[in-house]
Assembly symmetry: C2
Homo-oligomer: 82 residues x 2
């Protein structure tokens, strides 16, 4: 497993829409062995960041694709600092 941070540019999306998309991720993540850990969003700009524990980048993408189709604009594998 590895940790990934993604970023979505979702201008015009409400906090409730983003929360609903996240709930859909949680509903399907087990099928891909993925765990969406948390997310943050900036409602003014429509930027959302997801922190994801996944076996691969492809698995993380597959969850978003199946759950709601909102694929991230960027997705990078990260290491947590101190």
């Amino acid at each position: 497993m590895a940790i990934f941070m993604d970023r979505h540019d979702l201008a015009g999306t409400s906090a409730e829409d983003i929360a609903e998309a996240h709930r859909r991720d949680l509903a399907v993540e087990d099928r891909y062995g993925v765990k969406f850990l948390t997310y943050w969003y900036d409602q003014r700009r429509g930027t959302a960041f997801c922190l994801i524990d996944a076996p691969s980048k492809e698995a993380a993408i597959a969850v978003h694709r199946e759950a709601h189709g909102l694929i991230a604009d960027t997705l990078v594998e990260v290491t947590e600092g101190a």
Copy 2:
């Protein structure tokens, strides 16, 4: 206080350099009423994300400026999701 997520593009920077920059942030953050909560980095691309509790965007930037001069490329106020 508010939560901010920033992103640094630090290609060519080692994990140790990033850890040292973070230690310097922690050493000066109290002067600005800021708390650097955690960070993540992608060593291959040199991308680092800091999660910061700060009274203002300017205060968060001031800590990086004084600590090591590595100002973030982007900094957005965020809300933590579920």
